[in-house]
């Protein structure tokens, strides 16, 4: 494989016809920076029909080319069709990298087409850096439960495939530039699609589980003594007009649902005040809270990493501090 034959960074634009997924736009903005460093073109790959308005949003991220794919077999999403499509497209156009949003569908098909090509696939990078010496992208991500950072590269094979979680990068469009449109027709035979969607039942809208836009967040970490100690944290969240959330280990313990997990493998939040109780500060959690206006950390371990990221820190028993905050808030109301 000659690396030099592979050019341009692709971003797959996941959409439902009406709206492009925000993660796809975030990736376009980040990939723009990579392309500026590498001198490659930023190519947005759109499969099926997307409204003009939404296409403009994509273009505004500084896209150099839209690769628009039409054809049958791509609606609704199936792993079989999208795996084959991206295998065919990558063989034909030879992109140097393909970035895919780490959504449920994205995580299903991206590693699979990487396997079919075959090439290397990374997931959940939190930083992307173009190495001018090697021409490789460094996919940098927390490793070993967030205790260290690992640099992952695909030094020989192309394209470099990566899935990236929603919210990892910012949607900061730099504005449209001159771009070209290339159209590609590809049909996937329906009889080759091995999965069929039979029904969909939307979750009942439970507002307490929607933490992404909360202005105040009370987050409990692995220091939590048990489920029986949860009510005070819920009460504190309610008094602040905010939401209760947790770190990954609390979900692993079965105490709170996955939708409340903040961090690299959960939700990225940006509240006015984020209060961490018994949170150690593993980086895969911290990456999800750095945009908070104020970070308050309460931990009994004075050496806990979370104190390195906080605005205000209190060393002490999490339950006691929580109770004291509840009492003080009630007294001030």
């Amino acid at each position: 494989m000659k690396k030099s034959e592979y050019k341009d960074i692709w971003v797959y634009i996941e959409h439902d016809g009406k709206k492009a997924q925000s993660v796809s736009l975030e990736l376009c903005c980040e990939a723009r920076k990579l392309c500026d460093a590498s001198g490659e073109m930023l190519v947005a790959v759109i499969v099926g029909k997307l409204s003009e308005e939404e296409r403009e949003k994509v273009v505004s991220c500084g896209v150099d080319r839209l690769l628009c794919v039409c054809g049958t077999g791509f609606e609704p999403f199936s792993v079989d069709a999208y795996t084959e499509l991206f295998t065919v497209l990558c063989r034909k156009y030879k992109p140097s990298a393909v970035l895919v949003g780490g959504t449920i569908d994205g995580r299903d098909f991206a590693p699979r087409f990487a396997c079919r090509l075959p090439t290397g696939c990374t997931s959940d990078a939190t930083q992307l850096v173009y190495d001018t010496k090697t021409g490789d992208i460094e996919f940098i991500e927390p490793a070993v439960g967030g205790k260290m950072m690992a640099v992952i590269t695909v030094p020989v094979m192309r394209p470099q495939v990566g899935t990236i979680r929603p919210g990892t990068f910012k949607y900061q469009p730099i504005g449209a530039r001159a771009f070209e449109i290339r159209e590609e027709h590809f049909d996937f035979p329906p009889e080759k699609i091995r999965t069929k969607v039979i029904g969909f039942l939307p979750d009942e809208l439970d507002e307490t589980l929607n933490i992404a836009d909360a202005e105040y967040i009370v987050c409990v970490g692995n220091g939590l003594k048990g489920a029986d100690t949860l009510p005070r944290y819920r009460e504190l969240a309610e008094l602040l007009g905010g939401k209760l959330a947790c770190t990954r280990p609390v979900f692993d313990r079965g105490v709170l649902p996955y939708k409340l997990v903040i961090g690299q493998s959960g939700v990225v939040v940006k509240p006015k005040i984020y209060l961490a109780f018994g949170v150690s500060g593993a980086v895969n959690h911290v990456t999800g809270i750095l945009d908070s206006d104020v970070i308050v950390a309460v931990n009994k371990d004075p050496d806990a990493a979370i104190f390195g990221y906080c605005t205000y820190g209190i060393v002490g028993d999490m339950d006691e501090i929580c109770d004291a905050l509840i009492a003080e808030l009630k007294a001030r109301h």
Partner: protein, 264 residues
């Protein structure tokens, strides 16, 4: 008779792994290796299917000799057959090389109707093994399965409920089908003393790169792994914030609320 395979991994308990502050490297000594927690949910789903429809559940793993312990745990919890793929030549494999070896070994021991995997591992946590295994097995893929609704052996169709964006999707798939399992409904069973004892002495089938037929050496271990980890580095400690030390929980709380008063 359904032929069911569960792919598992033995992982270090990452919550107990510490970093040497001087060198920035991992201190692995004394850290227990455990069955990847989410793999236990996948095994439970497989065993429940076996109990409902009849069949056999095989568990397979790639890893060092000690990984046999994770397989014994699976045997105690309802698996019938255990396969360990162990060889120095398999070391430093990424998901592409690992999925290749597992699929090649599975091909040797017999075709499977259903393959189960945990959603992700505690250590690597790429969450992409299942997708690549499905490719290697040429199987359909249903990820994030909350509940397997039915398995129609005659029609070769499985139906399941999946966790999907903001809701539950019901989907069917043609077998062979690979499923990754959510932890919601398939809580691992606690083995009884009898099955635990039996698992201690049960045979573990072992294979190496020499005994798996047709293995292409260029596709295994480090040479077969397109992703590399050129370096790791310890996290830089953040600059740190203002510590509140007023002498009591009540005073600390009051001080904090004073400090953030304009934000509330």
């Amino acid at each position: 008779m359904l032929n069911i395979l569960v792919c598992v991994k033995q992982v270090p308990d990452v919550n107990l792994v510490k970093i040497d502050p001087a060198t920035g490297s991992l201190i692995r000594a004394g850290v227990p290796a455990i069955l990847n927690p989410l793999d236990a949910n996948a095994l439970e789903a497989a065993v429940q299917i076996k109990e409902r429809y009849s069949g056999t559940v095989s568990v397979i793993t790639m890893g060092p000799d000690q990984a046999a312990e994770a397989l014994r745990e699976c045997l105690a919890a309802g698996a019938d057959r255990a396969i360990l793929l162990s060889d120095r030549a398999f070391a430093n494999a990424d998901t592409l090389a690992t999925s290749y070896v597992i699929a090649k070994a599975a091909e040797m021991i017999g075709g499977f109707d259903l393959i189960f995997c945990g959603k992700e591992s505690l250590d690597g946590a790429t969450g992409q093994m299942a997708s690549q295994l499905a490719e290697r097995f040429d199987a359909s893929l249903l990820s994030s399965v909350k509940r397997v609704l039915s398995v129609n052996e005659r029609e070769k169709v499985v139906m399941a409920e999946r966790e999907y964006t903001n809701g539950t999707q019901t989907a069917s798939a043609i077998m062979p089908c690979l499923m990754t399992v959510e932890k919601t409904n398939y809580h691992p069973r606690i083995p009884n003393l009898k099955s635990w004892k039996a698992s201690r002495t049960a045979p573990i089938e072992r294979y190496t790169s020499e005994t798996i037929p047709g293995l292409d050496r260029a596709q295994i271990g480090d040479p077969g792994s397109p992703t590399k980890v050129p370096r790791t580095y310890p996290l830089e400690k953040g600059p740190g914030g203002k510590m509140i030390r007023e002498g009591s929980a009540a005073k600390d709380a009051a001080k904090l609320l004073d400090l953030v008063a304009d934000l509330i």
